[in-house]
């Protein structure tokens, strides 16, 4: 084997070879650095200033953990934590069970009208979480039509929070569970049938284990969403305190920024833990996914299909009742005394919470967020996935990109006050502008968009970049000629995701909007605060119409695109 070796010019063994960095690679790393810098300014540094603030007194002197000591010795504040935990666990349980049965019906049965149930389930995604609160007031509030169904209990409190939260987090859980149920391998069921395993045993031995990770993951997502949500408890929570509303009250009500920061840290910790565990769990799910599974074709079973149909109809009915009441309230003259129809409630300019300007601002903000967000997120994911070498830098970038998912919107918004409102900050000039709203919203929803982009990019052959390098084509040419066109559907998905969330989000922006940049979702909150419930309902419905239109547009464009590119996508 050594016949061809001339030992003369053999280099000393063990001299580690370092690859010279190509100019392409250098440009890519610089770009990645710029996006990392963006995330640093938009997420990491604000969080840091918030943590610093939590250890300062009102004059800005460092006091260590004194604020935390005060927090934990204030019973009312401490009990908010307990309340948040209890409510979140309860909602998680209800939502996971419901979502599992609903998803099971959609994926594993021959229930009729599946398309309808799929459609109706995403409705809550099109509205701000506040809408459920507003709607519940009309159903069960002091003048609610179904008030008696509560047997004297009040809706303003845990009951309202649980119902309202369940409504708006349901689709989030449902999507994860559907995915988990869709990836199961039909061959497992054939094997079970061949072994004459009973249906119930098959369910517990095959179905449940198969989507176990999906259920756990959905559980964590729901938990974080409810634990950190602020809209529903704000509108329907009454005197029932939760952590997220505490922050709002401390900061907006009492201008006690230090205590707001302390509560934020307390809110951040469980969210980060839940997030980390979820990441670990999902890593296992990926391993399941990679197996070449045969998709399962459900077989009809009249009794089961009918039962599932009834269950799904019930859930769909609740969703329709919820959004239907909001729409009805928006069109009524004077609840509950004058039930004539009117469009007066859409005349937002006479309301106190915010006029049509707020709506227009929202459209602007959502469009900017969708446009710039998609570019930043997709390009960042591309640099991460398709660059070569630089493992440490890449790892750090990925870590920062994952961080926003663990940061509750309120915490992010509050951090922005501390960070950007500081006159010494060179970015201080964006405070109070549209820019800061766009930046915060991109940052807030960065992770899910990032993961969508990464998934799409991972599906592309890694060797494209190798081939392009061998042909000495600069990376940006390959990027624009191949990567972008192939990933266009995923980019559109990211775009609509960012748009919908930007339209409906309240939690982060509520701390940083200014009188010039009032937003529709915040207006709903303020109108509710001012007792202008019909306006709030109408504004929430405006958001819903807009989101539904955007979603429809997205669907049409995607479909058209796929048809046009049919030739190269399918055989």
């Amino acid at each position: 084997m050594t016949t061809l070796m001339d030992t003369v010019d053999q280099p000393s063994l063990g001299a580690r070879v370092k690859q010279r960095i190509s100019s392409d690679e250098r440009v890519m790393r610089v770009c990645m650095g710029i996006i990392a810098l963006f995330l640093l300014v938009a997420v990491v540094l604000p969080l840091y200033s918030m943590m610093a603030k939590s250890m300062e007194d009102r004059d800005g002197a460092f006091v260590g953990l004194a604020n935390f000591a005060e927090y934990f010795s204030t019973p009312s504040l401490f009990f908010s934590g307990i309340n948040s935990l209890a409510i979140s666990l309860l909602v998680t349980f209800i939502v996971i069970v419901t979502a599992f049965i609903y998803a099971y019906a959609l994926t594993r049965t021959c229930m009729p009208f599946k398309w309808f149930f799929r459609l109706i389930a995403i409705v809550p995604l099109l509205t701000p979480s506040l809408l459920s609160g507003v709607s519940l007031v009309y159903w069960f509030g002091n003048q609610g039509i179904a008030k008696d169904m509560l047997f004297g209990e009040t809706i303003y409190g845990p009951i309202g929070i649980i119902i309202g939260s369940t409504y708006w987090v349901f689709p989030h859980a449902l999507m994860i569970v559907i995915t988990a149920l869709s990836i199961t391998d039909a061959r497992l069921y054939e094997a079970a049938a061949a072994l004459r395993t009973s249906a119930i045993r098959t369910f517990f031995k095959v179905t449940l284990p198969g989507c176990k990770y999906g259920l756990i993951s959905a559980g964590f997502v729901v938990f974080i969403l409810v634990f950190t949500d602020f809209g529903v408890p704000k509108v329907i929570g009454g005197n029932f305190n939760m952590l997220a509303t505490d922050i709002y009250k401390q900061v907006i009500g009492q201008q006690n920024f230090q205590m707001g920061a302390v509560v934020s840290v307390v809110l951040l910790v469980p969210a980060v833990i839940a997030f980390t565990v979820d990441r670990l769990v999902q890593r296992k799910q990926v391993a399941l996914l990679s197996a070449r599974a045969v998709p399962l074709e459900p077989k009809p079973d009249r009794r089961r299909d009918m039962m599932m149909f009834c269950f799904c109809s019930f859930v769909a009915l609740l969703i329709i009742l919820m959004i239907g009441m909001a729409q009805y309230a928006a069109l009524i003259k004077f609840w509950p005394y004058n039930l004539e129809f009117t469009l007066a409630n859409y005349n937002f300019d006479v309301a106190n919470g915010g006029g049509w300007d707020a709506y227009h601002n929202s459209i602007k903000m959502a469009s900017f967020t969708a446009f710039f967000g998609t570019i930043i997120v997709f390009f960042g994911a591309y640099l991460l996935e398709k660059g070569r070498g630089f493992a440490i830098g890449r790892g750090v970038f990925h870590g920062i990109a994952m961080l926003p998912l663990a940061v509750p919107g309120m915490v992010l918004g509050l951090s922005y006050i501390f960070f950007f409102n500081n006159p010494d900050n060179p970015f201080n000039f964006i405070y109070g502008t549209m820019t800061i709203l766009v930046v915060s919203t991109i940052a807030h929803f960065y992770t899910v968009s990032h993961l969508t982009a990464v998934t799409a990019l991972k599906q592309m052959d890694d060797e494209f970049e190798s081939v392009a390098a061998s042909l000495k084509t600069p990376f940006y040419k390959t990027f624009f000629k191949v990567t972008v066109p192939v990933c266009l559907p995923a980019s559109l998905d990211i775009m609509i995701y960012l748009f919908l969330n930007a339209m409906t989000t309240v939690s982060a922006v509520v701390f940083i909007y200014s009188s010039d940049t009032q937003l529709a979702s915040v207006a709903v909150l303020n109108m509710d605060d001012q007792g202008e419930l019909p306006f709030a309902a109408a504004m929430a419905m405006m958001i819903a119409y807009t989101c539904a239109t955007a979603r429809l547009l997205h669907l049409l464009i995607t479909r058209k695109l796929l048809r046009r590119t049919q030739a190269w996508r399918h055989r």
Binding site: M1, T2, T3, L4, M5, D9, Q10, P11, L13, G14, A15, R16, V17, K18, Q19, R20, I21, S22, D24, E25, R388, G389, D461, E463, F464, S466, V467, A468, A469, S470, L471, K472, T473, P474, K477, K481, V482, P485, V486, T565, A567, W568, R569, H570, R571
Partner: protein, 363 residues
Amino acid sequence: MNEPAESKKPYLKIRALTKNFGEFVALKDISLDIFESEFVCFLGPSGCGKTTLLRAIAGLDIQTAGSIEQEGRDISGLPPSERDFGIVFQSYALFPNLTVTRNVAFGLENRRMSRDKVSSRVTELLSLVGLPDQGDKYPAQLSGGQQQRVALARALATSPGLLLLDEPLSALDAKVRAHLRLEIKDLQRRLAVTTIMVTHDQEEALTMADRIVVMDHGVIEQVGTPRDIYNRPSSAFAAEFIGTMNFLEATVSASGEVSLGDHRFRCDTSDFEVGSKITLSIRPEDIVVDEGEGNQQNTVMADVRYIEFLGSFCRLGLDSAVFADSDVRADLSIHMMRDRDIDAGTRISVCFPENLIRIFALR
């Protein structure tokens, strides 16, 4: 071209190349010369490091230590875009959203070539790989074999000095594979482009390569022409991996003689001391059936356990006390089978010709 003279200057010079993935050593101290216009195959079982070596040569996954020179230029640390090679992968890696023409033109479009020149070069390449009329189709509309031809045309478009092929035929079905094998070889000979192909298929390597580099567990086991490697394997691994080989445990009983139990065979034992335990090997086609009673030199009486019909010849499974538990197979022509009237259960005398027995250290 077949037997490169040692004095000739190598085109590619690999020295002491090592690649670690963490603790795992994927390539261990690889040194190899490849000459201009040569077709070299890296052959070895899956996981032995062939792709790793190819990617190191391309600069796609840089080696941990060691050097590579191409045409006298040290390219050890250069990024792939600064090296001179074209590459074809098992997955084709054709850009799905570009037509065949644009795929082939991909590397030409940023070379300040006029549009006409690009288009005439693409036409030339497509007819070279036998796809003159498929330019407007998308990759997904072509068969696997056609896609691989496009990939080949794309890799050759910029006239690289070195063509790297990583299992280019493994994803294709047997018929297409055999056909494309010949075509690639023919194309390579005509263009005289230095080529390295990775494969785990010995037949592919034997038919296509000028020289074969046999690899196992990250080291080179043997380098040589297909004939060399087949006839004079330097290790039991190479002997077994390429072609079929019978192995029997034996002891060197005297100079020029080995023993299996009481039975003795004459063969070349020059590399071994008397008394060493060795593996005796002989290819099935080298075993001769003779008329004797098993009492001549190097002859054993054996029972035919089974007959495997393989078209132009038959493979016999042989049983004998001398072979103990080893599985010994002999290939016999159809003529011989007919003449001798051999059937399962027939007792025959088989001879291991002295000059065709090879012995290796015990594995």
